[in-house]
């Protein structure tokens, strides 16, 4: 969190999102994709949510952008509660909040030229004259390191990396305060992922943007995030500053993810954790720890409800063992009082 900022841009409290599906026998089945998620995003901050597919991390962003309805909870943007607003009332507020999609090719109308896709954003709010829109589009394209001639092409005629830059350019045309980045690099080749990451971090500095980053690539998150939340089956299981989560991860799931990512840097605390099995919506409704069936350290007490508890200042963990018996899950002895890291 930066200095001189005293209120968050975005505040999310106890957010719940249910999907109702029907099984083969047409029985209703409620899937709670997001289950009581709370966090805030501060100006100029990157808050990242990491997790596997099926963890519900993308749904959080979509609810915040009101692209899908929330079931319960509160979301306030710049101090105003937005969940109860209708689409028409919320529409003017959309200038504050934009999104960059995972697959840039899907995010652009295949029939429209880049220019007309960008114009939709440039004309938002109706404050720019057509000539100003043209200028704004040209500036936006240059701003992401491309040359304006690309505007006359169609999405299929532009490479994935360039198109993702254009997707960023497009969302910045409305001058938002917060950008929801939904796996912004995962459809791109490894050799050019860095281009998008560097572009985004550069823009954050110049345009004072806040990012809500959803990703599973831990290297991208490490490069971009200030704070990180780890999500598993609809719940945050660990939240902390980037270094806390990467270097002092306490939750077995976080450690399993770090272990699987085989990062060269930075090293993390404790013994390596190997998770068995795989994420399954069957464990969704469980009142206790949802990782229990996969966790090497699980015991009967894990079936009891697990609240998020503080282990270090600003670091919350949803695992009683991490707080009460860290040694039993392969973590070093807790730091003695006054020895905060």
């Amino acid at each position: 969190m930066r200095e001189g900022v005293n209120s968050p841009l975005l505040e999310v409290r106890d957010l719940v999102k249910d999907y109702i599906s029907r099984d083969a026998k047409l029985r209703q089945r409620v899937v709670r994709a997001v289950d009581g998620v709370s966090f805030e995003v501060w100006p100029s901050e990157t808050f990242a949510i990491v997790g596997e597919s099926g963890s519900g991390k993308s749904t959080v962003g979509r609810v915040i952008l009101k692209l899908t309805d929330a079931t319960e909870g509160h979301v306030s943007l710049l101090g105003e509660d937005i969940l109860d607003l209708g689409e028409k009332q919320f529409r003017p507020m959309r200038t504050n909040l934009q999104m960059v999609f995972q697959d840039p090719l899907a995010a652009f109308d295949p029939r429209a030229t880049i220019r007309s896709s960008l114009r939709e954003f440039a004309e938002f709010g109706g404050e720019r004259t057509p000539a100003q829109q043209d200028q704004a589009i040209e500036d936006a394209i240059r701003n992401v390191g491309l040359s304006p001639e690309i505007a006359d092409r169609r999405p299929a005629e532009v490479s994935g990396g360039q198109l993702q830059r254009l997707s960023v350019a497009r969302s910045l045309l409305v001058e938002p305060r917060l950008l929801f980045l939904d796996e912004p690099t995962s459809s791109l080749d490894v050799s050019i992922r860095g281009q998008i990451v560097n572009l985004l971090t550069g823009l954050q500095e110049t345009a004072q943007l806040a990012y809500l980053l959803v990703a599973h690539d831990l290297r991208v998150v490490y490069a971009m995030a200030h704070r990180v939340a780890v999500m598993y089956l609809g719940q945050f299981v660990e939240i902390g500053t980037r270094d806390q989560v990467y270097r002092q991860a306490a939750h077995p799931y976080t450690r399993g993810l770090l272990e699987a990512a085989q990062l060269e840097e930075p090293g993390h605390l404790g013994e390596p954790v190997r998770l068995s099995g795989e994420i399954s919506t069957d464990h969704l409704g469980s009142p206790g720890c949802r990782l229990m069936p996969r966790c090497p350290f699980s015991e009967s007490k894990c079936a009891e409800p697990q609240p998020l508890r503080e282990t270090r200042t600003g670091q919350l963990v949803r695992c009683w063992k991490a707080v009460e018996a860290p040694v039993s899950i392969g973590l070093p002895e807790p730091p003695s009082p006054g020895d905060r890291s």
């Binding site: 990396g161 080749d189 490894v190 599973h216 490069a223 993810l257 085989q262």
Partner: protein, 328 residues
């Protein structure tokens, strides 16, 4: 055959020997291109080799050529693919069919692509076993269940009767591996076998593949875009770019002291970095419409010189590996 070019690490003739393989798509149409520009790759017996490259490098197309399943419109322009000394290019369809299973098997990124959705998982594995052996119905089913069990499918007897859509992603990939290994192939080609899986699952599946291939004394050709996966699983690595092998050799030395600037750049792109900056290779992968006339990496290479523009560099043996770079 390979005697004149044998590298120090390989004394026996390799199991798979791909020489100067070029593949193009029909000329004269809008899709005309030449995605493989002369690939040289050797997989020794009982070894694990990874083929690393970005999308468009031609790694999957190389695998498709080996199993004789090139996409429509693709044609072999030149080169040879020998499996155990037998030339596969030009072999009859019937011969290729006989080879697939007992000699070469493949598993894909999407396990559901290799399993038939309307047959039970156990039933189709048993069918493959019957096709390539004289096992009876009962015997083949028992072997199918046994295979699923070896691949770590819990309660294999019951799960063998399920359909693939009833399997989770990780289980389906285990079943696909059981299918691929059902006829004891000498060579298993795994094309991005874990790309669709979550991180915590990737490791489990990779370890299983390595363990099973090693136990059977078979060879593995693992195709991946992720250098970290190559490092975890294979003793040898070949790096592909723009339809050519840029560097190949023992994984440890290729990844710790790369000899080709492209390998160096790819490794840097994989490194974890701090402070909001990640390394990216400038520019984009070249479009392979025509035969290359210079080093394909020349336009993006930080160490490019005049000599890089004089023709396409051939793979040369340098110490423990082969490198296609005039500066190496």
């Amino acid at each position: 055959m390979t005697g004149s070019r044998a590298t120090p690490t390989m004394d026996a003739p390799p199991l798979l020997d791909i020489e100067n393989l070029a593949v193009g798509f029909r000329t004269g149409t809008e899709d005309a291109s030449m995605p493989l520009q002369g690939v040289n790759l050797r997989v020794p017996r009982s070894s694990r080799m990874s083929l690393v490259g970005e999308s468009g490098s031609g790694k999957s197309l190389t695998a498709a050529a080996v199993i004789g399943m090139l996409p429509e419109g693709a044609e072999i322009l030149r080169g040879s693919i020998r499996l155990d000394g037998e030339e596969l290019l030009g072999a009859s369809k019937r011969r290729l069919r006989d080879l697939r299973g007992p000699q070469i098997a493949i598993m894909f990124q999407n396990p559901r692509a290799s399993l038939n959705p309307v047959l039970t998982v156990g039933g189709q594995i048993a069918e493959v076993i019957r096709t390539h052996s004289d096992a009876g119905r009962r015997d083949s089913h028992l072997r199918a269940i046994d295979l699923l069990d070896q691949m770590g499918v819990p309660d294999a007897r019951r799960r063998a009767g399920d359909y693939v859509h009833q399997y989770s992603g990780g289980m389906a990939q285990r079943a696909a591996l059981a299918m691929a290994l059902s006829c004891q192939p000498d060579l298993l080609i795994a094309d991005e076998p874990t790309t669709g899986l979550d991180a915590t699952l990737q490791q489990q599946v990779l370890e299983l593949v390595v363990e099973q291939v090693t136990d059977r004394g078979a060879s593995l050709l693992l195709i991946t875009h992720d250098i970290a996966i190559a490092r975890q699983t294979c003793e040898r690595t070949a790096v592909m770019y723009a339809g050519r092998v840029m560097e190949s050799g023992p994984t440890a030395s290729v990844t710790s002291s790369p000899a080709n600037p492209y390998t160096t750049a790819l490794l840097r792109a994989f490194a974890t970095v701090d402070e909001g900056r990640m390394y990216a290779i400038p520019g984009t992968v070249p479009t392979l419409l025509d035969p290359l006339v210079e080093c394909p990496f020349a336009s993006r290479c930080p160490e490019v010189g005049e000599e890089c523009r004089d023709g396409v560099p051939e793979l040369r043996t340098i110490a423990d590996r082969e490198v296609a770079c005039v500066k190496a």
